[in-house]
Amino acid sequence: MTESRQAVTSDVDAMRREEHDLVVVGGGPAGLGAAQAAYDEGVDDIVILERDFELGGILQQCVHPGFGLEYFEEELTGPEYAQEFIENVAERGVDIRLDTMVLEVTHDRTVYAVNDEDGVTEIDAEKVILAMGCRERTRDALDIPGSRPAGIFTAGTAQRLINMEGKLPGEKAVILGSGDVGLIMARHMHLEGAEVEAVLEIMPYTGGITRNVVQCLEDFDIPLRTQQTITEIHGNDRVEGVTVQEVDDDFEPIPGTEYEIECDTVLLSVGLIPENELSVDAGVELHSVTGGPIVDETRETNVEDIYACGNVLHVHDVVDWVTEESMIAGRSAARSLQDRVETRKEPIEIESTAKLRYVVPDRISTIDPDREEIPLYMRVHAPMEDVFVTLSSGGEELTRTFERRAEPGEMVTLNVDSDTLAELPEPRLELDVVQREEA
């Protein structure tokens, strides 16, 4: 074994070398949208590198409906939504490489990818769009003590097992976390014949969108217990049960409130983390709240010619916004390749009050004559009712939008006219949230 390995290591010519205008890392909804938009803007040398055996990313395992209401104005399942874009990129002749994992993206846009047909390919790219999506937080990231038996899955893994592999991960489940994936999986486990004992949520409110609470839990009488969490997992070989406790306002378990639930499965839907290991190695700076890159309005990161969009940038609640955002990235990368945009002498910084958890983008740094408006994406910290989101500069209000209910789980969008930006009192935009009465 040792000899053969040494023999091949001396063979340095085994690596393929290529050059392309645009390399898109990831063929989920973000990568597909970006590639399509870049092509439509006039770039035809595009490669999508996808690590799975098919395009579409996590949409392929989301067989439930509810996708596309914004973008297509009709209700589609995940695979149907994905299929539209898969066909679009295929029609455009985009070079698609499946089962291909990107190993490294360098600061100067050399992309190393591996698959079993081509081996390792070194691609010199003019532009790179990062669209790797996100991964799920695990039991360990939550620091839940107890044993480590079989039967603990993240909700997305369970979803894949059920929908792609046709295997049920358990028969009696407790779901921790009421994010959308958790809510959908509660319904899904129930429909597949498993018992769902409860959905537990450490916050006083659900992390998912209202539609899912109604359609996935209430319609099936699955109890949602807020301000409760799992404080211990039991069972040596297979999960046998969990200890649940109520938590106080600081999320600390309240002594004396412990109770046990018997179950053979724990599904975790406790947050998604943008997958930025490649980005960090490329020198991309990350945002402390989103966990994704800090980008300007074109979705360009601090590393020149490297862009990011979709869930690798910030976790979206609805795929339609991923599409909108990735099209901004694809279009912008294309226009930049064609020298159609001008860099501002001084970027416009976007700032927000403490009522907002985060805003994407972080700044506006280009002037693009083809662009009429710039959408700002943001999330509130806690649920609020009857509020205006206002945008000002130097104390002068520029625009506002009304939200009857603003929830942390649902992204708020505010569009800014390009014309407005031409005459700002200072190179700064300020976002605020105000109650209707005050306003």
Binding site: M101, G119, D143, T157, E171
Partner: protein
Amino acid sequence: MGGDNRSARVSLGEYIMQSETDVLVVGGGVTGTAIARELSRYRLDVVLVEKSPDVCTGTSKSNTALIHAGFNADPDKQKGRLNVRGNELYHERIQHELDVPIEWRGALVVATDESERPKLEELLEKGQRNDVDGLEILEREALLEKEPHLTDDAVAALWAPTAGIVNPFELTVGFANNAVENGASVELEAEVTDITKTDDGFTVETAKGEIDAEIVINAAGLYADEVSKMVGVDDFEITPRRGEYYLYDKQFDIDIDTTIFPVPTEVTKGIVVTPTDEGNLLIGPNAQEIDDKRDKATTRQGLDKVLNGAQKTVPDLTKKDVIKEFAGLRPAIKETGDFRIQIEEEVPGFINAAGIQSPGLASAPATAELVVDLVEELRGDLEEDPAFDPNYSGPPKVRHMSHEERAGLIEEDARYGQIICRCETVTEGEIRDAINQPVPAQTVNAIKRRVRPGAGRCQGGFCGPRVIEILSEELDIPMTEVKLEEEGSELLTDEIKQPLLEKSHESSEVNADD
């Protein structure tokens, strides 16, 4: 030894392959496998029996993964002498023979108050008496230069350059595979249920049938007292002492280069902060005596103690970037606090290698050497097997290769181009290699121990289903029978949607033809 012969030497069947052997080793932890390998150097028939579906499932899989230098070893105790000799053997032989990650990072014992300085002097002196090389006291400035994340309270430290870190899974598997390559047999899922003394040795009953052995070596770890009782040696008891740990992500902003100990007290060695061979950071363990030998649950109190203890030397540590928490059980003999490696005089032919708590991993090669001496004492001089080959190498580690090396390897074998585990970049080739090793990986955790899929930050979220699929394919069992670790740890409960999935596969094949 030919490949065919090798594979025949590990029994996965329902019954034990042979009815008699010269030496039977009970227990496939690092101690048992090191002993089996050392015995395979000689013209001896050696069989190792292990109750679990894999080797390295007990104490050997959950510990601090250290090759202690031996400065704190008590020369009056067996464990003290074996630690020092074990460290030597890792340096002189093991690291060259087995393709197992061992790094000599060195250890620091950090005093955080002037009042602890005399203890450092004491350890220095003790270490020098034990012939530990290179010991010196480092003052604050040199210390902080070496480890910038150390607490500002650090005043001085004992520096032991010969301390090392090792991958305990690969080590144990390496010992076992090398033993099999050299003619030993490994019987998995063969729990010993009874031992009867006979005229010329023992009849050992296992879950897979009976086997006669001239000599029985008990390396059953946590269960060593129970195995020993089967031959009537019942004057010791194993008390499980639980230690809990936190493991951090590789991409973690606190870089620690060496193994950091606080100054030990009468009660405890303190919480260790150490890098692992894969570049993670590991902190732990606490120590708590428990009753149940299977209870490897972590506890809130225990984990909090671990973090607080680690913050004593590295205050920047938090729970952020923790990717795994786990507990391990040390098999301690409380009365002596020492190993018990000896021929039991009242039962000639029965050798106990029991009570192997810390520094058991560091001592393993020396323990094996000592046990071979004991076997020689019983049987007379052992004849060396000229065919013995001490060298072993596992599957290629594609994640550690340069892009060029990787390209070359994939050209030879395309399976190394298919990435299954994204976090650790483990390829399909490595996973299939692990399943086809002399001692095969038959469970999800067995694969993880050998080649790491699921050991990264997503803890198997993405690759879990694929690994189950590959295991099901290679072992020719349904996916619902694939286990995480022991019997009863099957991961999936039911087949569903089969007609639908078949239909969708058919239609995707049609699409592919379009």
